[in-house]
Symmetry: C5
Subunit: 309 residues, 5 copies
């Protein structure tokens, strides 16, 4: 049972952009109202920690790995920085792209300073790039850290990004992570519901939140408050910290069917695998997201290949 | 006995916008000079604390609850962020809206850092949104924290918002709360009178102040200094912390008739109730605000339904 | 013996604005080269402390009191924020106005943080307001706090204000108060002379400085260094802390005739009095300022009414 | 065996600038895909420490020394500030220039404050200068310090510089040095790989990183992770701290042939030598970079003169 | 033997401005390549300390003293703030002016906070003022404090000022003083050479540095490193702290003939004298600067009047 989305257009999309907005939404949700976001923005967020080291496929050392997966796996949208997309996009013209417009390194730990991440470009720059390059840029994204002493600058830029995205007929995705000295438990379900509500106030189409936990236990049910708080802003979630594929797919299924999530944003659980396996993992996640596949069905896709689509 | 307002136009409203300004003022004051503001901006200010938990109706978990109340209850204006309005406004086209242009979370406590809240959009953005969406955007709002080490940026933005609101024929409402390490008693009547005077200097049409208390006791009479200090800027006030509806309505009546307030801004005392009850509470508040109903008359509306209008 | 001013036009007034600049200067100096500035900007600077309390006339609780005085008393110019002027100006169209473009509250004490006050609007905004409203906006004003760690932003804005004022044919007045952790004695005559020189460097027409004191004693003679340091920028001064009207008028006379001041900026000593008395006080001050009245002659005006004009 | 580059054009170069971009890339890489960058930007970065003192040729005391070398030695591009280029360029019109658009002194040590370096001009200013002067401005450069508490402003400016460079058909070079209180070992190969990845996310054509070391030992092999992490952004590197020319050339050869580097950025090892020797050193470095000369062959060029080109 | 300058035009002067740039350079250097700058900017930098007190002529208490000297003494250019020039320039139309575009008070000591001085106006504002006023505005100036934690903002503004000055055909002068907690000995010759190199990187025509000292001893020879580091940016220097006129003139002669300086910037040693003596001092300094007069010849001019010109 899918959450209906096709046809819904927020009022800050001007009439002349309605069809483009709907086309972009349909492209990345495959007309299901759900979103499978393949996250490639960690090259700045985590530097090379996610791409090189023990337990990581050597394939992942080269950023082109991300584009190969995005082009050959079944995904909704591939999120990366505009600069990186500009260097590979010509060879991967059929990938639907989300341009992540802010980013920071993880070198300064939260204990040292409250986080701040500001935009690298405007949505106008993105729209200009999309037009000139001919790429399928369907969405833009931004990370907000509520509770940081710098939240004011990020709330302002996020509001601006959503408004400008809609003005250009693009879909908006906000990553909202409460973080900073003022924050106790970043995974508290009630706090995460608050984060989801922030995205609703900012008018975003989608919000990515951390997977909530209570007493160290995560579960789809803990997402329910957030999904309700987000209202017409759809919640997507990471698949938890599980690295076992079956567990991961099971968590994801619960997030969608128990927690009411509208999809997922997955990075490491895909790109740290060798190319063929990473593609099968994409296809498995997409099957859960877009086709209501069971964890078992999806796991078969992961292990044996093929898609449910 | 109403405070006259119809026809008064501040000089920073350009002549070409006089009729629009008056129409907006009449719309939200119902030509009484008073204002019943239904506050929906806490989703960012208090995250999900005001919308989910013990003693809060499950209806309130979904932001659409706010729009349902605003559409079916008798209100002057419904205050929310532009992003949220953009996602629901098409289904609630008859609600008079106030776009709150700044906002912050409550995650950083005043003891940790002085508050700062900066604008998410300009009034030009709001005017553009109003025109494109066709919604009844009648007013804009902004919160200032005098006494914060960041007051300079907020005073500047507030002055700009009032000026731009008037330039576009919109009504302006300022929330003025002295807050920060330099502030002793936030509820001191003399300090609150100062806050009201700040709004007068900024040229606002309305100012929302905290309900003043002396020695822990609130009362309409403590508002008198503020109402006088505000001059031609009209003071609206929260209904105190009372959660008992009759007490709340009695406080409100005193604020207006003893304290000289021009209305109220009410959020939790409305939206934390189930829909039908919330609507009746709106109607009761509106009766006190707009029709000079007695607390008893208003309470009957709350308990039995109907309106005095 | 008046200090000549009529006809002097600084070179940053463009030729097309010469006649307007001279008209504004003549209006507020009554062609004497001196200025009696009635200060109404404390509603933000001192919140309600100057307007409500023991020893203050109840008339002063309402900001309209200021406009009533300005309209009926003999003054050079009435200084207030643009927002406040916008709400009352239509009823007081004959008052010559000075728009104070920055302001801050006094809630943060100097011991807590160095002061910063930034502009609420540009001089272009003021010029636009003057044109649209038809009011007699003859001057603009700005406060600088040299010695504050934030002095750079204020020096920049002050220089900009003077330049833009002259570009629009408006008279400029700077309030220059050395203040902050780096400052020892704010009333030191040599420091105040430095402050006056700052205004000269900024190109202002008038500078308001604190009344200098040495060893706790004030006197016109202590102003001499400042008046010389200011050069062609004219110094105006508060009338000291004396609240006895005769003493006040005597101080003022000395400031002008011993110290070489070109006038005064007076607020509390006028508006804390009941309307009729406040008007007589204005007239008394104006007599000293504009007509070279003796303190005794002026005091008679204060006590018996009438003007020397 | 050269890394192919000719013909590759990132998608943020607009079609009308393709030929100019390729011409600039060919000019500075001599169509080899490699870059020999002669660095003259230390006059601000290290003040006069690199130009005057024991072991430094007196020739180096005069900034014209840099231009003489750039004009007569075989280099790819000469990096300096636009102001300096403006004073000498007319006499050295055939040098290919890279305008370094940010810079800071080394007076504040990292232990005192995290570094911040902001741009002195925009790429539009550079393009305007190039057009008006007729100089061969082929590239622009910027330094980023990830891990500094100021990284946000530098990431934003760097992204903007790369985008604007490509919009103007210019080649972009980023210097990316993790630095600040949060950074442990600046030379850690894994951290440097992260830095290279940052440049890839920013979309730069080239990234200059520090020569990585492990346990105090440097070596071409430690560059491998960085070169892979950078993907289609080419890595250039300093020649290590060796000041013995043969060692320096051997290191450089290893960086290219073992580490996969696409060239080098060399300053002190060239300009601290007397003019004739400095020119021969350029030629030797160029031989390794562009002609795959062995260290021995290159050393002969350094000692005996001539070029391999 | 003069340093040739006539005819040299940096490449950031657009061709249409070549003749104006050369005319301005010739005007202030009297076609000698040297500059005698009469500094009047201390009214903000030192407040009234340099203008009033023991050992200072009473003439100096009035800022018009500076203009009288500039008009009647032989100088290259008179440096002051635009606001001050605007108030006196009409009466002193033949003085060549340098508009100093930034400035700060000395109230905050370096031990308290690192210095920051930001621009009061843009070079476009200066060009506009020059055109409208008809004054001989030939140059602009800016002070940079390398080593301050605020150096980034000043380096950026300085680079912008030089570029814009040249775009308008104006001569640029930078004051470069390393200052702040990170700086040990502000007078160290090697550090001052670094400061001179900073100005070269910024592309300035002239740089004013402090007179270098080693072990408390100053001397022309200590300037040599700075003069070489500055390259085609010409170094001017204060005449040391000597207040004995013959010593001052001897120091100046050595700075030029031993140190290779291109002139001087002198304030207090001129304007603290009575008018006639100050004029003779100007003429004496000008004789050394422009006419290669010996200290003895110049001293005669100072004592007996006349000029060598």
């Amino acid at each position: 049972m899918h959450q209906g989305s096709s046809g819904f257009v927020p009022l800050d999309v001007p009439p002349s952009m309605h069809s483009m907005y709907c086309a972009n939404m349909d492209l990345i949700t495959k007309k299901t109202g759900r979103l499978m976001l393949f996250a490639g923005d960690q090259k700045i967020e985590h530097l090379n920690d996610d791409f090189f080291g023990v337990g990581i496929s050597p394939d992942d050392a080269d950023p082109e790995h991300l584009f190969r997966i995005a082009a050959r796996g079944r995904i909704g949208v591939f999120a990366a920085q505009m600069g990186l997309i500009a260097r590979y996009g010509a060879d991967y013209p059929d990938v639907p792209y989300l341009v992540k417009i802010n980013g920071k390194s993880h070198l300064i730990r939260t204990e040292q300073h409250d986080p701040v991440s500001t935009s690298w470009c405007s949505v106008d720059d993105v729209a200009c790039f999309a037009r000139d390059s001919g790429l399928l840029v369907a969405a833009v994204g931004y990370t907000v850290y509520p509770g940081s002493i710098h939240e004011a600058v990020m709330l302002r830029e996020a509001a601006c990004m959503v408004r400008d995205a809609h003005r250009h007929g693009l879909v908006s995705v906000l990553w909202v992570y409460p973080r900073g000295h003022a924050i106790g438990d970043e995974k508290d379900p009630h706090l995460i519901a608050g984060a989801a509500g922030v995205a609703a106030c900012l008018g975003s189409d989608f919000v990515k939140v951390n997977s909530p936990k209570r007493a160290g236990i995560s579960g789809g049910v803990f997402l329910d408050e957030a999904v309700r708080a987000a209202g017409r802003t759809k919640v997507i979630c990471a698949g938890g910290s599980a690295t076992d594929p079956l567990e991961f797919l099971t968590d994801l299924h619960r997030q969608i069917h128990e927690g009411g999530c509208a999809g997922n944003a997955t990075g490491r659980n895909i790109h740290q695998k060798p190319l063929a396996e990473a593609i099968r993992m994409c296809n498995a996640i997409a099957a859960v997201t877009y086709d209501d596949a069971t964890p078992g069905e999806a796991y078969l896709i992961y292990t044996r290949g093929g898609t449910s689509g």
